[in-house]
Symmetry: C3
Subunit: 397 residues, 3 copies
């Protein structure tokens, strides 16, 4: 195939869009990587007319570099969407063997594993956005954290552990504010597997010790990211710590797949902040999501068994070879209950989607979402709801 | 030539500064690209002494990547000048044939074709800045837009059509504000061509439906971009929509070239914004520009016939081969009349320039501009004028 | 060695982490380069309890590109730490011969040579941060400047001269403010050299003509950059100009090295700013630093004789080959006296450090610093002090 070019032993593999260069002995390699996700969303049906708007946005615009020299590898990647730089990956990993198992030690800023839908990249989710378990049960520090990670891999399982301070930022440094400290763990196991089917079981959890702040607020978008209108909002007092955990059940049968996730987060709020004192307050947020889909064109669902997460599909009949690409249809229901929290919220949504994979690394996505939300506090309070049609042109290179 | 290295069929072309890698079958390629434009400007002669300052700036500091796999190509490029990231190109293009003609379908954030001087890159203009037709007759969304584009190419013509929402930004999302919608069209035709001469005719237009805003303001710099002093400023009420169009006439005769452009933009202003009401207001902005130049060292003017815009010149006697490089002299007159607009302006300027192209992709530029401006409102109102000497070291890789 | 791959004459050198591509005739080359420095710091012992915090930060997160075509080379590099883009290098250099000596002419934004510890990269210093001579005797424009530079190199010496306006920024342009103009010079000479030992003498200076401003303030961190707590702060009136100079004495004896630096900066303050008038004020800041270290594993200290600055060490027994890496221990004392300045400061600190170089381009660093500071004005005034333990995972590619 012309996708792999070998010149004098040097291997250039073009399968992912940009070539990966590897030396003849396989000991050195490097590649560039990136993604461009361009979205359009049109919202309608809200009782707040200001929410019924349509617009474009770049969901992600990333460029990064990966290198490897023997056991030492590194990744550096930035996100440029919204015209603001955000360093996402910036770490070095040492790979080794421990009792016959691959182990990885990582130092730096890295994406944290948490939930099935939340452990993969934004370019790999089946719908325009991740499920509500991933989006709502998020530690204060966010999706990334600066710290250390350890992973160990078996034939059909892996365990990932991470200790991290806050994601990169400068405000804390000049204000002499300490980091949030977050301890995260995720594991997956494939108890049953045939040539065309498998069952994935997963579990995850985190504990976070949150730095002092005046308030706690969180906004979880229920529709595509083009629009901030239908967001489940928590506007509460300062948080002291939280403990969260969840379960994943995923299965593949030929070209069909299904994923169920459930998780909960117990939050304890601070009794004091500065000169203020508060009564004892705590509460639990629960979230669940159920989704299923099928490739009409016969592809195997895009699951990466090594780490138990989404991957790029392998299109059987790419448009670049004169084919029709891969076609996938899918549906998802999401449910959130944070009514227990002071200034909390509750919400549910239903989404159907069609994905057209032109080649492995480019897809056109169409989603329709209907959402209901009831926020106790903040903008657009009370029970409301609406719809959004979302479209994406997504390329991963 | 050492500019093309072929190893085992893999082709590395170094002609543009950074190598472009192409597979033996020509189906895959990628390259990095960028530009650094470092400017110095010294202003004098204004009746406002605060305007007579001299300073340095980076006019552009860009780095990007281009890839292609068969018919699918993509570009990702960011501008880092002023230490603020601005994603300029982030799109995927599918190339195909339609009735024997090359056609391109593009989705993502892309530069819009508009005017002759405004359709090329900032590193390709003959003077330090584009002509006033390109700079003043600009839609509200700016030079780039997120949306879809279609281009079709003939032997001596092309047509480019584009529908786009706003350029990338996050403010609109969190505020639930809709996009401006802009429809743009440009075409060029070469009716006459010999081995050493040609005539280019071009036409362009746009219609924009502008989102609600409290005011409309626009600042068009008359001198180099090092200085904001001599700017033609419009400070007016909120705009509802505008319709613009223009004509291009360009010609080459041996080493000499000339370009004339004219355009107009009719703006309708809003009758209401929030609780405010306004009387009916509308107005037309007109701009014209005339420029001509000659390569003293015999080069062919740097025109790219495929898309009808500026390109990099092909230096006959590069300094890196012990030569004297290419020398070009040029002059330009610009005229703007936005006096018809509430809070409008009028201005004219005259510029002479010398360009020394050390190699194809590096040039030293020297401009002298004399400008007059009369702003109805805003900073530095009333009739004023002045001069600027501008110097640039520009490298494109 | 697999570190150099030659395919059909094209040379790929992987020695620095990312491959450098060079054509067979050596006339064209390019490479990517970057660094990730991930830090953790824990502060304790201050009488201000708000200063005793621990946190993580990215000290540097950089990605850049270098290219060369015959005599013309260029560098473009950005820093992304703190999630803010900062263009650090953006310049073009022409290399030539003058009376048998290599000379370099540079235009663009470039790092300025100043002090021994301040002339190298942040990934090459022996301790987590540069010495106080480099950090405190800094011109107003900062570490980088946009302008022109000239360098000439002999067998055992070099001279670097630079004229530059401000580092890249946009505030000055839109406010019509002129640049600071800074003139810098640095030279080094190696009067004595054997196979295992050498003496380096260096001298540097700068004069700056500072643009009008309301105040002058400077904050020099005494501990690692994770924490802004123990900073020597100058909070004074507007500065008119300053003249600074210093001396460097560096030596290597087998695996041990020592560096002494001293410098002073005389500052003249403005007599007027806007409608305000001030009495005549001037003052001198003095700084000195003494540091020494030894490689326990027998490496040669990481000195780059061509430009007289730090470089990457050459690890004799890398961990990637099953070795123990390189181990270095070092100590430093820093002293600052800015008591002479209105709103000035005085400070001293002592640091010990251990560096473990896993391979040439990756190191783990551990520093303990004890610091005393006495600020006349600003946050945390009066005599105070404290300690910080700092750790870094640093990779250069």
């Amino acid at each position: 195939s012309s996708r792999t070019t070998t010149v004098g032993g040097l291997v250039l593999d073009w399968g992912k869009g940009l070539p990966e260069l590897t030396t003849p002995d396989g000991e050195y390699s490097f590649r560039f990587r990136g993604r461009i996700l361009a979205d359009y969303g049109a919202a309608f049906g809200s009782r707040f007319s200001a929410q019924n708007v349509s617009r474009t946005t770049l969901r992600a615009a990333r460029l990064g570099v990966e290198g490897r020299a023997k056991q030492l590898s590194w990744v550096f990647e930035g996100d440029y969407s919204n015209n603001q730089i955000s360093v996402v990956s910036a770490y070095a990993t040492w790979s080794d063997k421990m009792a016959g198992h691959l182990v990885e030690y990582t130092l730096g800023n890295k994406f944290n594993e948490r939930t099935f839908d939340g452990s993969g990249g934004s370019d790999q989710t089946v719908f325009l956005d991740r499920d509500i378990v991933a989006n709502a049960l998020l530690p204060v520090k966010g999706w990334y954290g600066l710290g250390g990670a350890f992973k160990i891999f078996g034939k059909s399982w892996h365990v990932a552990a991470q200790i991290s301070g806050d994601d990169i930022n400068s405000a804390n440094i000049t204000n002499n504010v300490r980091d949030d400290m977050t301890y995260e763990l995720r594991t997956h196991w494939i108890p049953w597997r045939t040539k065309t089917s498998l069952i994935h079981l997963g579990a995850w959890g985190f504990y976070e010790d949150v730095k002092p702040a005046a308030t706690f607020s969180q906004s979880t978008r229920l529709l595509a990211r083009t629009d901030d209108a239908f967001a489940a909002r928590i506007n509460s007092g300062p948080i002291a710590n939280s403990l969260a955990g969840g379960l994943e059940l995923f299965g593949i049968w030929k070209s069909a797949w299904a994923l169920g996730e459930y998780g909960a987060r117990h939050m304890e709020f601070r009794n004091t902040y500065g000169a203020q004192t508060f009564p004892y307050r705590a509460g639990t947020v629960q979230a669940a999501s159920l989704q299923a889909g099928i490739f009409l064109t016969g592809e195997t669902p895009n699951y990466f068994a090594h780490t138990g997460q989404w991957a790029m599909p392998r299109v059987l009949d790419p448009v670049s070879d004169g084919g029709i690409g891969a076609w996938e249809i899918a549906a998802r229901g999401d449910w959130l209950d944070a009514w227990d929290i002071p200034g909390g919220t509750k919400a549910w949504s239903a989404t159907v989607g069609v994905n057209w994979y032109i080649v492995n690394y480019m897809r056109i996505m169409l989603n329709y979402t209907h959402a209901h939300v009831d926020n106790k506090a903040g903008a657009y309070p009370g029970a409301t709801g609406g719809n959004i049609i979302g479209v994406r042109s997504g390329i991963t290179f």
